[in-house]
């Protein structure tokens, strides 16, 4: 029993999409590291990388070559297997997430009359899938921290475990808010529900939309371990946190996972709150460029925040999570629900 031609075509198209997404994701950190260092430089009133290529544009390539040729050190008393495995564990879920992320509305290809969709899979539980899969990246951090057999790494791992558990609650609450506002768990339908002009976006679902967005941004930044919430790699008190013992390619896998997670949170914010690929005004720009533009704005925002705010203390971090974000979320769920019923 052989599958018919349509099924084979479907599988091929899917494999091609997976390939394209993977290639884009694995190369995305190259421009992003350059941008991050430039942002850092300009905020601190210096030019940033300037030497390699025009305006230092080839700096990430030089960094990559350096990382490849560094000696790969495994600490003497480390748990060898887990130590090797941890960077992979942190990278794979970060990449997996993009299976469910749609980037533009589907188009019908002329002449052959086939529909081409801009996602690998549209689950009817897409938003849950992304949160669940993204949450798994934490194992890389915990296991890496433990396997290094170092006190600093261990403390960094434990810190981020507690931090991510706490902020995952707030992040999931903001997703609940979006699901209530858009009436669906599928990301494609969530974006479609925000079609129209600027005020149909979830962020302008007044009065709760903007508050949900702020909760999402704070919890998202904590979830991806970025300043002001990067307590797991606090160089002041923990050397470099969970990856203090990592070097060469293993280290760069962790960095890759971190950048991928940042892109994930930015795309999620775009899809859930900023109308996805819907433009604020119809001026003939293809939808996918709206999507990329909005995602880029969010990424840029994360970078500016990183070099603007100081790091929180650990107890402050926990207080913000449990005593501020979660109670506000609970009240907001109630308000959003009432609005859905009575408006």
């Amino acid at each position: 029993m052989w599958p018919d031609i349509d099924t084979i075509l479907l599988v091929i198209v899917m494999l091609v999409k997976v390939g394209v997404v993977t290639i884009i994701l694995l190369n995305l950190p190259i421009p992003l590291t350059w941008l991050e260092r430039k942002v850092a430089g300009h905020i601190q009133q210096r030019p940033g990388p300037m030497r390699v290529g025009p305006h230092g544009i080839l700096q990430p390539v030089a960094d990559g070559i350096k990382l490849i040729f560094k000696e790969d050190i495994v600490p003497a008393k480390a748990d060898k297997l887990l130590f090797m495995f941890a960077p992979v564990v942190s990278l794979v879920p970060a990449l997996c997430v993009f299976v469910a992320i749609p980037v533009a509305e589907s188009v019908t290809i002329p002449y052959i009359n086939k529909e081409l969709t801009f996602y690998v899979a549209d689950f009817n539980v897409g938003i849950l899938f992304i949160l669940a899969r993204g949450g798994m990246g934490i194992y890389g951090i915990i296991l890496g921290g433990w396997a290094s057999n170092s006190k600093y790494a261990m403390l960094g791992g434990l810190r981020s475990a507690a931090q991510m558990i706490s902020y995952e609650v707030a992040l999931s609450f903001s997703a609940i808010g979006v699901v209530m506002m858009s009436n669906s768990l599928s990301l494609v339908e969530i974006v479609e529900s925000q079609a129209g002009n600027l005020f149909d976006w979830n962020i302008f679902y007044l009065p709760v939309g903007p508050i949900w967005f702020v909760i999402f941004l704070i919890a998202g930044m904590a979830e991806i371990n970025r300043i002001p919430f990067d307590l797991s790699e606090d160089e002041g008190s923990l050397a470099a946190g969970f990856f203090v013992e990592y070097s060469a390619m293993k280290f760069s896998l962790f960095a890759l996972a971190e950048y991928t997670a940042m892109v994930t949170i930015a795309t999620l914010g775009t899809l859930m709150f900023l109308g996805g690929w819907n433009g604020p005004v119809d001026i003939g720009i293809p939808p996918i460029f709206w999507f990329i533009g909005k995602t880029f704005v969010l990424i840029y925002f994360f970078m500016v925040i990183r070099f603007t705010l100081p790091r929180y203390r650990y107890d402050q971090l926990m207080t913000i999570g449990w005593n501020v974000l979660i109670p506000i979320s609970l009240v907001l769920v109630l308000v959003t629900g009432l609005m859905r019923i009575y408006l």
């Binding site: 009817n124 669940a132 934490i138 915990i142 296991l143 507690a162 991510m164």
Partner: protein, 167 residues
């Protein structure tokens, strides 16, 4: 359906092997790692039953939250000491007894519990989240509420134990 059958075999075999590792390995951190693998395979089995919601919830709650807390505790154990500990001989009859009861229970569920009457959704028809929600809050509202009370009891119990320890 051949592909589904092959996938089922793969997931089931990995699940059984990794759960065997969970109970036989000496290092508690490795055990927790294999437990993650087992739970992921169970989530894959839910997907084969065409219930993506259950699969995702399985990953979300068990892999994403419960096991993180689990690891949190395990990491603080002295691994060398923990891996040396063995069941004391006088406790073994109890362990075998519990094992036998669990085995009988499983066999009863498999052969008498009417599992074969359960039908899968037709291929392509996924179980919708709305359906699960409606069923939970109408047909199964009583078990649902009972479960939430049980969880509440566990939570209160944990807090009471923590207070006792401190005082």
């Amino acid at each position: 359906m051949l592909i589904e059958y092959i996938l089922f075999i793969i997931f089931a075999v990995i699940a059984i092997m990794s759960s065997l590792c969970v109970v036989t390995l000496r290092n508690p951190v490795h055990c927790a790692g294999y437990l993650i693998v087992t739970l992921l395979q169970v989530a894959a089995l839910f997907l084969l039953c065409r219930s993506p919601f259950l699969a995702v919830v399985q990953v979300f709650i068990y892999v994403g939250a419960v096991l993180v807390l689990f690891l949190f505790v395990v990491l603080l154990i002295d691994v060398k000491k923990a891996s040396m500990e063995i069941f004391k001989p006088k406790h073994r009859p109890l362990a075998y007894g519990v094992l036998a009861i669990l085995l009988i229970e499983t066999l009863v569920v498999i052969f008498v519990g009417g599992l074969e009457k359960i039908r899968l959704a037709a291929p392509g028809a996924e179980v919708k989240v709305e359906t699960i929600g409606r069923e939970l809050f109408t047909s199964y509202i009583f078990p649902f509420e009972i479960v939430s009370v049980v969880l509440l009891v566990a939570m209160v119990g944990a807090i009471v134990m923590a207070i006792d320890r401190r005082g």
